[in-house]
Point group: C2
Chain length 558, copies 2
């Protein structure tokens, strides 16, 4: 029996994992990893923190060296070698040795493509001026570090307000720069629903110089002093000593495309559940492939390390004849900046609408990350999206200072296992005063949603607040009402409601709110049993401020 020869193109995340897993399964295989970069198996997710000098040593980013691959796994790693073509008939790849400048061929029995995704660098006027950076590799981050350390820049413009953009903003602020963020969407963190992104905007605004939302970069110019001027489509102009482009990535599917492999509609390599491409001897993994989103049932590009690693394992197992399958994703992600954590899992309202799915409902809550009676509780702003008809959990978004990733991890696990909001109600989660609450935020989210699915309470749509004909009832205490309320709201504190029901209309819908939604829910149950047509404005005044940040604050008078 001749030895199986596996060639892996790209040695980061998915490719590196695939190689190591292959060795564990097949001590006899010949495994060659070919990467055009200087390094394999480096920590891409750490690069912004290396720029920010939070991670101080470059060596920390190198998770495994070619030497380690050789010694530990008997795997040959060739860096600075680029695969430029695949000959599917001959089962070989054309490789360019970038150092020696020569081409050679490499035979494979199985080929794994793990080329990753490249930062988008649009062909804007002036894009090639010095000082305009993208971030993908260790050398990329080293160049930005050197720029900062040698030129002592004061002003940075970060183009893109998503995950990488905000991490870069955080790290540049950490380095002492004044940062402006330019984002094409009307919100930061475009994967979030807009009202949840408003919690992000508020925090980022207090740590940056300027946020330019709903505007794109039109071009770059050199100022007289050698610095840059960033011009936007809406006529904005921002001086910068340093620009970072973080407007997304594009799958590196050129090699696969030129080899005639099937490419999906989002531009990624199309694979089956065993990560096999349209050629049965070629597999593909990582940021270059399209994956099936299990919640909305559509193909997506999900450039995340976790799925890439799992895909690498699946490909290795498939190559070794095992029946492993990649089951798709529901896209759990987290990002931290300026003391805030933002995390999400599954579908948002936006992704559901885009996918044409209408059977869903959303609730909001703003509980403390642990029991309020123990000092130091921080609010977790949480939105849960679930199927209206049966309560299946579809997604969640959370923003806060503490405990955010924990709740999203629990809900992600619930989504993975097909849980409903009734399961979230009953989740048994860690509770001691400094860790949670007898009713954890996840339990509360489940209870609030379950009340909706069971029909115990109806939700008022926040989106229709300013057009609805409803009677707006504020059941908070007068001091809260006077400090800020919804326009036109009438204040009857919950404790007085049973005695003052004659002040409420019976011929009109009543929309109730309080601070975070709990008292309003009590009021809804009360009023409904007395025959009123009543709905809850989920999450109360906290949610209102996120939905309508531009509204002036109304000070209620009674």
């Amino acid at each position: 029996m001749t030895k199986k020869r596996v060639v892996i193109v790209g040695g980061v995340a998915g490719g590196a994992t695939c190689a190591a897993r292959l060795r564990r399964l097949d001590e006899g295989a010949e495994i060659v990893v070919i990467d055009r970069g200087l390094y394999v198996s480096f920590a891409n997710c750490g690069l912004p923190y290396y720029v920010g000098n939070v991670i101080q040593e470059e060596a920390k980013l190198l998770l495994a060296t070619p030497e380690l691959f050789r010694e530990r796994f008997n795997i040959e790693v060739r860096t600075r070698n680029e695969v430029t073509a695949i000959d599917r008939q001959a089962c070989d790849v054309l490789v360019r040795d970038l150092e020696a400048g020569r081409d050679y061929r490499e035979r494979y029995d199985a080929l794994v493509l793990s080329p990753g995704a490249a930062p988008i660098r649009p062909p804007l006027p002036g894009i090639d001026h010095p000082g305009i950076f993208t971030l993908r590799t260790v050398p990329d981050s080293r160049v930005i570090r050197e720029w900062i350390e040698s030129r002592n820049p004061h002003r940075a413009v970060v183009v893109g307000g998503g995950f990488i953009g905000l991490e870069m903003a955080e790290n540049l602020v950490h380095r002492g720069l004044d940062v402006t963020i330019v984002e094409m969407a009307d919100q930061l963190m475009p994967p979030l629903d807009p009202e949840m992104a408003d919690f992000v905007r508020r925090r980022v605004a207090t740590h940056t110089d300027h946020l330019q939302l709903g505007d794109g970069v039109a071009g770059f110019e050199r100022a007289g002093d050698g610095s840059l001027i960033v011009r936007t489509g809406r006529g904005g102009s921002f001086g910068a000593d340093l620009v970072v482009l973080a407007i997304g990535v594009r799958p590196e599917s050129k090699l696969a495309r030129e080899a005639g492999l099937e490419i999906g509609e989002r531009g990624g390599i199309r694979v089956d559940p065993q990560m096999r491409t349209s050629d049965p001897r070629i597999w593909a993994v990582g940021d270059a492939v399209e994956v099936k989103n299990n919640v909305i049932g559509q193909w997506e590009l999900i450039p995340l390390a976790g799925p890439a690693n799992r895909q690498g394992r699946v490909a290795a197992e498939a190559i070794c004849g095992r029946d492993s399958r990649f089951k798709g994703v529901h896209a759990t992600a987290v990002c931290g900046f300026f003391g805030l954590t933002v995390a999400l899992t599954g579908a948002t309202e936006r992704t559901l609408r885009r996918a044409g799915i209408g059977d869903f409902e959303s609730i909001y809550l703003h509980p403390g990350h642990h029991a309020g009676y123990y000092p130091g509780a921080k609010p977790v702003h949480l939105k849960l999206v679930f199927r209206r008809s049966d309560g299946l959990v579809l997604g969640a978004q959370a923003v806060g200072e503490e405990g955010v990733e924990r709740r999203i991890d629990v809900i992600s696990t619930a989504i993975q296992m097909g849980a409903t909001v009734f399961d979230l109600e009953e989740a048994e989660l860690c509770y001691a005063p400094q860790y949670g609450a007898a009713k954890d935020p996840v339990n509360l989210a489940g209870m609030i949603a379950a009340n909706v699915v069971r029909g115990d309470v109806d939700l008022a749509p926040w989106s229709e607040l300013h057009t609805a004909e409803a009677f707006i009832l504020d059941v908070r205490e007068p001091a809260e009402f006077h400090a800020g309320c919804l326009d036109g709201a009438v204040n009857i504190p919950l404790g007085q409601l049973r005695d003052r029901m004659d002040e409420l209309p019976r011929d009109r819908g009543i929309w109730v709110y309080c601070r975070v939604g709990q008292r309003a829910y009590y009021a809804c149950r009360l009023l409904r049993q007395h025959g009123f047509r009543v709905r809850n404005l989920s999450g109360g005044y906290h949610t209102y401020r996120a939905w309508y940040p531009e509204d002036r604050v109304h000070h209620g008078t009674t």
Copy 2:
């Protein structure tokens, strides 16, 4: 239609939740809560922290007052009233007004018992000396605070090294006292398996004066200066200015027992899934009832706030004619002290063995709570217990400084949903450098366990380390080996293993270990494919030190 009259005995946790839920479901019901204490709806879990002055205001502990119940929920709360008997024929209870000293009867259509559990106070010699406390109520904690503040004690003995005992020890140390812990079991935190408890012991030992394990209190004496002497069964004697008894709680089932309601074998009130006792008009919830542990299939006493609250809701819903069910527990719990977090969910090896269940396996791992390349990663010591035959997740225990409760919450959710270790492998969890890793500790636990279930690696039993005939192979680097190794181990670093296989026996089992288990796993895969009979010592040297803390450290020589 006459109004339904519901009497609830006990207004903390389950009782309070039941009352509030009843009101939301039935605006017309008459709801009376009767509690012999001064307060209802207080935060029992916060009491140790009130003693420790971490929670400084007593008012913080009072989550809801009788006035709030009346105003907000139209619920009548009678504190300092004690239900002393139930007349099931007449459907009324005998109540003693403890202030007025008179008895009266109260009719019910539905009766809910939520009497809780009382701290055990064994009839030891000298148990009634002043300065020996238990902790259940707000006044209990106030008395200990006053003792500390008026007498300025220096030495405390905490009897019991479980959850409450360790929280009390932490809070007394926080108050500046020297603390001795006396625990009957051979380990702290008896719900943990002993080797996992060793991580706790090490931490607690550095913050306390003395740990007396495997020994019980025999009695208390007064010293000449008025302080206490705690005598133990093994002849120990510890001076104390303050003693806290935290040796467990006993369900308050006397009232139910005297009324002829069915009592379980653990001494708790027996209920059906609707929390109904053997009398169809009487429900029971909270620490006084036995609940079904879903993992081991047995009745247990689980004095936790989360289940109590859920039970209160279920009882309320059942009383209102809804078909809600309490689905049992798998007992998730967390405790924090001296900078350490300990959490567990589901079954331990001990509970499985006690239940006569043998189809299980355990693995250990010690990963960082976030990516190692980002500064500040702290180890999470994690043990996962799963069904050997199919990989069903049965339980987990974790100890560490950061991220412990998060992993246990995820695994708890997995257990709730019937997940297997294969599901844990694929869990999509939050990853950014400061939050986790591309392979989260939960994923790693799933992978390690899945390797066992799939038969890719066999585990060596730590319990047989000192009696086995195996060849012990250490695949760490020489410097690690020399710093401390297993007795008799032979060192061949992983990177040299392929070239030095002729040094290994083919006629004997080989047990492999490294620092935490990863390199040993690689070695197992390698050696197995070369025909060796090889097993992994799960979790490596870290696990060894927990299993055999008394072993002197062997310094390997090569």
